[in-house]
Subunit: 504 residues, 2 copies
């Protein structure tokens, strides 16, 4: 076995994470970088998604794409650029995104005669009309749908797009808030209001199903208040998750857009009854922000923790040996185990790279959140067992070698269930009712989490509360019970509690 | 059965294509639009890829992605924007792409006080440094690799990216040349020159394999001449296909980049021998242009022709009936057939939408290139057979109902083989040797296709030939035989023939 070089040790020394309770934000940033998920790029606010992080995103994409197709949607692709005149057509939408738009104004660079080897924008290449890099695609898509829709027979249109979008954020954080991010955006067109609302609700349901069953993140489905709605929507549905630091994270949104875009782009159809009517619209999206939610829901001070559903490597097998003879014997057992687990559909890696010591590998795969680690040493061979460690609890157990193939799939299932259960419990203990302003502030300051409280229904009060506490109304849960009460701030009457929290 | 409304007939009247021999270019444009593959958008030079076209692209992506992963590559994602200072770092690359760059100069729109309801670029949001929308990602990626590579242990890096890129083309055509297009770009880093060349050659091999075995397009692997090389490459390998109008189409390229980008971005590594050396690079890509190649290789005057490997619908079953009783009987047979074919892994559609007549459906699925169409009418039921039509030859045959499930997979295979064979034959009859200038010009003008001719090896001659004939050197085939000869234009000595053609 080779000695571990100076460079490698140095590299991995950096990987000891700041504990969460010391500095959660620092822990997050360190984890994202040292687990090889993403890093800041040479472009302000834009990230590089590294292969390991991208492999997780690909798994999310594949599952979501399957769910979209199963619910009747097809993928398509629309232009990256939105001409200014289209961008400004839906007034509220334009106003909402104008503040943070990357704008293309020229189409050529030429040699800078004053600076040898440098280029400059060619003033002669100024565009007649500026192009906005899409922050979202309603405008360009509804300008297209105009030509696709004449009759009720052309409806519904159920289309999704996987794309990059750009919003010029001033303060960015890897995955959570970046100037460019990857997402999917569904854009559907319907003949009736009812059908569009049904679609909006169906898709928030798909997101909740995905979050809970694949990401193992419990979410609350709810409605946004008017102040928090998508610019251009009549109603915004959301799923809200709770992170380990007590802050909420909006994990997905589905918008009922009414006839706003149809009116802005003059999209009408001949109804069955022969009347010319405006089309009804929805849009819905999730983004690489989900990576942030995944990381912050499950991970610990040792690094990333992943459910098996999203782990690029589900099981890693690490041999421990001191000479070639031992290695040969371990190889035999390990490779058989590898092949058997693979035959069961699992993603397995046998890491016998002898440039790294077993301890280094243990640390590395913990950092990267591999759900199950199997270690095999000479003594294990003698005893006919292997050491199996689960990433979620860091517990180890010995399992008879010939039982591993049968037991590991169950163990992965158990890990997934445990991750969800743990997150549900955390949320349960961090969802608190507040009936006085003092309670409300105390919970937000000292405990965090969701605060369920009465609110008088006005944007004015909502904004005041935000100014005073930094908490916002995350949502009005869809399964809310009606309950008479008084607004936490103004004392005015209220008919239901809403969920407040500080948030990402 | 309902009557076909006025609207539908009107819509489909438009779908009669201009015959290829009348106006090939018009035929292409009409086909792309009427088969619902793509259309021009409201943004100059940018296309909308429609769901049916995108479904074909998704199949290409899935197969290519699998092949990239099988050859050891991982996906990642790098920023859309390239700061000007990074863009200009590799001089030749910058020079090559500067002429056609979309440039972001501002990051905010504000209300235009002079024009109510309109927005304008906020002059206060000018960027300190302009951002180029990536025309290709070598610059931003090598600026990233700089931080990933210190030691030979960090090599090779084998990364691919699926992304959109923008090149400000003045004359655009759907799929073939658009300002924005979708592609994949592989970017690899290696410790030695030999390894990088091996990778470059391996990937042009992967592309050729994909083109021939999945797209059923025969291609010639070759090297580009210096004048046709990728800006910043030491050597460009390509695959060249021949379209039905006798023009060549470059379907994929793989570049050996030498140490050019490593030097421009100062990317060095500690070699096994302990020396600090520049890293060797490759890049390789194919794009939505492949859709153009697919369409123009196989399709005919009736519309699109697809190999089963890329067809979103491989088999369509159309019922023919005049009353509900007949329909019920046909349903029984058709649905069983549908389920059996599906169980064999085929993509099957039973189209019993009664808003459209069978004749309309026949026309529609021919237009969309569905490889096999099965029609079932009352008489067929009596005789215990169905009518099976293959899209490639438009031939029909009756097949016993209970043999359909067994025979259709073979028929699809036969169609795929026939498409490839037909294209190989076309290329064979359209590859001609020319030994005099007169022959050369005559072939280019009257017959088209590849012209195999001697060339003196100079860029000057190459450019002169292009000026005089519009033909370029498509490639120097990798399997070229050495042969003494004289340049077709200058009469200077030459050691091998090269392939000339007019091209897309």
């Amino acid at each position: 076995m080779k000695k571990i070089g100076k460079y490698l040790i140095k590299k991995k020394d950096m990987a000891k994470l700041t504990p969460r309770n010391e500095d959660y934000s620092k822990w997050y940033n360190e984890l994202v970088v040292s687990a090889d998920l993403a890093e800041n790029s040479g472009v302000r606010g834009c990230m590089v998604i590294k292969p390991y992080g991208y492999a997780i995103w690909e798994k999310m994409q594949a599952q979501l794409d399957k769910m979209f197709k199963e619910t009747g949607h097809q993928n398509a692709y629309f232009p990256l650029f939105v001409p200014k005149s289209l961008f400004e057509a839906e007034e509220k939408n334009a106003e909402g995104f104008a503040k943070e738009c990357a704008v293309v104004t020229h189409y050529r660079l030429v040699k800078d005669e004053e600076k040898p080897g440098k280029l400059k924008v060619d003033p002669n290449s100024k565009l007649e009309e500026e192009l906005v890099v899409r922050p979202t695609s309603e405008a360009i898509i509804w300008n297209t749908y105009k030509n696709w829709i004449q009759s009720y027979r052309d409806l519904p249109i159920l289309v999704n797009q996987w794309a990059n979008v750009v919003r010029w954020e001033m303060r960015t954080r890897l995955f959570l808030r970046t100037a460019e991010f990857l997402w999917q955006e569904g854009h559907t067109a319907h003949a009736t209001r009812e059908e569009a609302i049904e679609e909006t609700e169906k898709m928030i349901g798909v997101y909740a199903d995905f979050a809970e069953n694949y990401m193992k993140i419990p979410v609350i489905k709810g409605l946004k208040t008017e102040a928090e709605r998508f610019a251009g929507a009549d109603e915004t549905y959301c799923i809200e998750a709770l992170m380990q630091d007590g802050k909420a994270l909006q994990a997905g949104t589905s918008h009922f857009l009414g006839q706003n875009f149809a009116k802005a782009f003059d999209v009408k159809f001949n109804s069955k009854e022969g009347k010319l009517e405006y089309v009804w619209a929805t849009s819905w999206g999730v983004s690489t922000r989900l990576m942030g939610a995944l990381i912050m829901t499950h991970s610990d001070d040792q690094g990333l923790v992943l459910p098996s559903t999203l782990a690029p490597i589900q099981v890693v097998i690490v041999p421990i040996y001191f000479n070639d003879e031992q290695k040969a014997k371990i190889d035999e057992v390990a490779l058989r185990m590898h092949d058997e687990l693979k035959a069961k559909g699992l993603s397995v890696k046998y890491d016998d790279n002898d440039a790294y010591k077993p301890g280094w590998k243990f640390h590395e795969y913990e950092l990267k959140g591999v759900p199950v680690r199997i270690a095999i040493g000479p003594k294990d061979l003698e005893k006919g067992h292997v050491e199996v460690a689960r990433r979620d609890t860091l517990e180890k157990q010995f399992i008879a070698t010939d039982e591993v193939t049968d037991l590991v799939p169950n163990l992965l299932q158990e890990i997934d269930n445990n991750l969800f259960k743990r997150a549900v419990e955390y949320r349960a203990t961090h969802t608190t009712k507040a009936d006085t302003w003092e309670e409300f502030v105390d919970i937000l300051e000292n405990k965090g989490g969701f605060v369920s409280a009465h609110w008088d229904g006005t944007t004015e009060t909502e904004e005041k509360i935000q100014e005073m506490t930094k908490a916002t109304i995350r949502c009005i849960p869809l399964d809310n019970q009606l309950e008479e009460g008084k607004c936490i701030l103004t004392g005015k009457p209220s008919k239901q509690r809403v969920l407040f929290a500080k948030s990402y």
